[in-house]
Symmetry: C2
Subunit: 242 residues, 2 copies
Amino acid sequence: MTFNVAQKDATFQNIVPFPFMETPAERAPQSLQEHLLILRDFGSTSRFARNETVFQEGDRAQNIYRIVRGTIRLCRHTPDGRRHIAEFALPGDLFGVFGGAEQAFTAEAVTDVTLIAYPRAQFDRLSERDPRFRANILRHLSTTLMTAQLHTFVLGCQSAKERLASFILRLADRTGAMETGKLDLTMGRQDIADHLGLTIETICRAVTALKNEKVIAVPTTHQLVLRNVEALCELADGSATA
Amino acid sequence: MTFNVAQKDATFQNIVPFPFMETPAERAPQSLQEHLLILRDFGSTSRFARNETVFQEGDRAQNIYRIVRGTIRLCRHTPDGRRHIAEFALPGDLFGVFGGAEQAFTAEAVTDVTLIAYPRAQFDRLSERDPRFRANILRHLSTTLMTAQLHTFVLGCQSAKERLASFILRLADRTGAMETGKLDLTMGRQDIADHLGLTIETICRAVTALKNEKVIAVPTTHQLVLRNVEALCELADGSATA
DNA sequence: CGGGTGATTGATTGTCGTCAAGCTTGGTGG
DNA sequence: CCACCAAGCTTGACGACAATCAATCACCCG
């Protein structure tokens, strides 16, 4: 009855970097997201307003969530009031622990959000029965881990401007903004700061700097235009020349 | 023939935080490390001298490694010469990607090292046959992910002294130094710096600071004595009062 | 005992954090 | 429709912490 890969002290994981792709029903599910369509009937849709809390770190993990619309931040609050945003979850992404009894992060709505909650019980049942589903869970975990390790590099090695460049590129990648060059920043400056380990003022200055260097344009606070992707990549890759 | 959970673009993962426990053969294997005893006969032992490279980022991932003796650093080198150490692997730990064709990190010997290499082919075969083995892989991945996310917090939110405190505590936890209060620092100051996103000088000054505050003692460069674990915890947890 | 590597300490610089105003923007109500 | 307000963004001045640059020191090893 329990998820056979889940065991007491190990808490699987959160966060998800896949952009969602609408899937023609006729072909085999490739990603965990697509695979979840099987559970469609068990999922219940719910809505949260901006800044509402979906669940808190330490809550019993009852559901896996998929975002339909909006942005979620997965974060931790320290005793002394610091906040760390581990990840933003975007439409199509999954979040909530896959194993383990407790949520590892607090999930808060950055914007108004629509999401689907899949009961863990159903989720676990499917994962028992279907080896491909398990495989997808593994892939998913693995991708999430790579993302976390990349972030570890960003925080450990990069300057403010480099971190912002990395963030912009990854967000552009995930939202498909690489095509259009137009990027919606659904989260506020403070959220970006807490994700990149910087302050809101430093984010502002870095944005202004990139704007002055004509690497990006900033039509509105919540919109960016990528004017020089190459320059962004150089900043993000650590290809010197800074 | 291929690992059924491994698929093209997903690269499973590296790094491993478990301290190894010698296991009586009679009870069921609990951890992936113990489980690997099954593959004992396929493992081949090899040695590497201090600073030798075990494999490089991008190499074909042919083996999973278990450390018998010594310390390994899993790192990345950027084009412009920065180095980021994602993790140290200690005796009993596993490293090498579990899925995916390429290593995600370079593995270098911090000290002289003895390790056992398990061919991925054998490893994959066992994971196909044995669901509990798969379960252990999942647990392992999940633990690794949590470790990475904790590190993300350390790098994003903590000051130099706090990072050092976090590092010391985790290392003490993994090596069993919490009991004795005596901690071997097998890696050099530069390695610690590259792991914590600081410079070697800053590490030195932080060590000196903790020494002066009588939180630790430093009998030799590569040995620490924990004199005030509580103070270390307060620093690491972000319980203000800094 | 000498040479070399790595650690430590000091002096200075630079980046980012902090504090303090303004400024935009969007929403509300008169 | 406009005035007002509040939240959040931006900019500036300043300070602190960590990086950098530069000796000096301690400890292995031959």
